[in-house]
């Protein structure tokens, strides 16, 4: 293990004395930024798609919207996120002549991608809510959209919160591919440390640890949130 101690020493030198930790912190920040922005955009898009999916389809407009949503979900679930990132960054952006920073690209693509997954989660959540809730809201004169947003979706979110937490964890882990389009995440930071010390064992080990701790921390937060949302179920 003497070898390992030496490796640790080298890692510490680059990590601390040569300022590698600033990159790690930036990487951590970017990872969290992308995952949080991705989840927020994903929930918004997912909710809209799910509401369209459960909307009664007597008229033409909802049917067309539903068709568009199906194509959307099909594309984003049917292709790897790396492909989507590359397509967005190297095809879509040049086509529109836009110079968007790669971090923002990642946020948007992860949001679009998770929107497709969240829509299915949300749809099952909405269907799990008693239809009487929607009827009662409609009978009071609230529109379909308002009834959904104020009554049905909050209850749906409560039902699907554990699954949404899972989706967030998946997002955190998936962010490790953003270096494909040049965004600096945890992988980039530790790769930098490794290249500068000619030693990869410890950096990647620490990287794995950080991911695990991060995910466990989020799992704990989800549990806390779930408990506070269950308030309306408890007798008090």
């Amino acid at each position: 293990m003497g070898n390992f101690e030496k490796k640790l020493e080298v890692f510490w030198k680059v990590f601390y004395e040569y300022g590698g930790y600033t990159r790690v912190l930036t990487g951590l920040r970017n990872t969290i930024y992308i995952a949080v922005a991705g989840l927020v955009i994903g929930i918004i898009i997912g909710t809209i798609i799910a509401v369209i999916a459960v909307f009664p389809k007597y008229k033409r407009l909802p049917r067309i919207l539903d068709g568009i949503c199906k194509v959307y979900v099909g594309f984003f679930r049917g292709s790897p996120i790396v492909v989507q990132l590359l397509l967005f960054y190297f095809v879509a952006l040049p086509l529109f002549g836009s110079k968007m920073p790669s971090l923002n690209v990642c946020m948007i693509v992860f949001g679009l991608n998770s929107g497709a997954y969240v829509s299915e989660i949300m749809r099952s959540g909405i269907l799990s809510v008693d239809p009487g809730q929607l009827e009662a809201a409609r009978a009071l004169g609230l529109s379909y959209g308002v009834s959904m947003m104020k009554v049905v979706v909050p209850q749906a979110i409560k039902n699907i919160l554990p699954t949404l937490g899972n989706e967030f964890i998946v997002l955190i882990k998936e962010t490790s591919v953003v270096s494909f389009v040049g965004a600096a995440d945890l992988y980039v930071a530790f790769n930098y440390i490794g290249t500068n010390s000619y030693e990869f064992m410890v950096p990647y080990l620490v990287m794995a640890l950080i991911y695990i701790v991060l995910v466990m921390f989020i799992a704990m937060l989800v549990k806390l949130m779930e408990r506070s949302l269950r308030r309306s179920d408890r007798r008090n």
Partner: protein
């Protein structure tokens, strides 16, 4: 007040309502009775278009609300509805349940007025004939305050003021149903529709709910009540409709229907339930 003209409802090939024509006048309390599967609940739910009629007209205050082009939400504000399963919003406290619709609708109207005023102001900058602005004499906070006061007043009336800030899951069935009734009343409806309001209640809670409905009836509210409580129908209703197989078979005053039924189906039904 409500004119129902040749109302029909089909689910696929199943005819639930086979042409109902009736008029509900202001101040009337109409009880709808009949065997299960006779279409009485569907009839009630068609009155505020929770079920879209297959054909026929429902004229409410001069507007055919069965027409899909009509904005049904505006008309539903004036029709309170009480469900068999209470349907209190589980994610909201009791007082939020009562306040939700009045607050939302009034703030929505306020917002629409403000936006319209904004465009009128822009228009007035250029046009010669100045248009008048909409009068805005309320604010969001004021709307909330008024709705809260009204909700508390209604809760006080049914003696559940102390339950204002609890969630519905902590209440008994009778309490839930009474809150559902005042939630509908908070919109100041012109007509109240009751869909078997006591069928899902424990027997000892039926009384408190019926008492409240009776009170509301005595205040002159127009009501349509689908019910299995024959005693209640006899006591409160001014007119009873007996429905069977999607048609109104017989209608009359409660005394006539219960003491002297004409149609054989009515006789048969009443002999079973009374």
């Amino acid at each position: 007040m409500i004119d129902v003209i040749d109302l029909k409802k089909q689910y696929g090939s199943l005819e639930v309502l086979r042409g109902i024509t009736n008029t509900i006048r202001e101040g009337e309390k109409v009880a709808v009775i009949g065997p299960s599967g006779s279409g009485k609940s569907t009839f009630l739910r068609c009155l505020n278009c929770l079920e879209d009629p297959t054909s026929g007209q429902i004229i409410f205050e001069g507007v055919d609300i069965a027409d899909m082009k009509v904005d049904i939400n505006i008309h539903r504000r004036h029709m309170g509805m009480v469900f068999q399963q209470f349907n209190l919003f589980n994610n909201k406290t009791v007082i939020e349940n009562i306040m939700l619709a009045p607050v939302h609708i009034k703030t929505h109207d306020l917002r629409v007025k403000k936006i319209k005023n904004f465009f009128i102001k822009i228009r007035n900058l250029f046009a010669k004939n100045k248009k008048e602005l909409y009068v805005i004499n309320t604010t969001k906070t004021k709307i909330r305050e008024e709705a809260r006061e009204n909700a508390l007043r209604l809760l006080r009336r049914i003696g559940l003021e102390d339950k204002a800030n609890v969630y519905p899951s902590t209440l008994s069935g009778g309490q839930k149903q009474r809150i559902a009734i005042i939630r509908a009343l908070a919109m100041n409806p012109k007509v109240m529709l009751f869909d078997e309001p006591t069928s899902a209640l424990d027997p000892e809670m039926v009384g408190e709910v019926l008492d409240l409905i009776k009170q509301v009836a005595d205040e002159g509210m127009t009501m349509v009540i689908v019910t299995h409580e024959m005693g209640f129908a006899r006591e409160v209703a001014t007119r009873v409709l007996f429905m069977d197989e999607g048609r109104i078979v017989e209608e009359n005053t409660p005394e006539e229907i219960f003491n002297n039924p004409q149609h054989p189906r009515t006789k048969e039904f009443l002999s079973k339930v009374l």
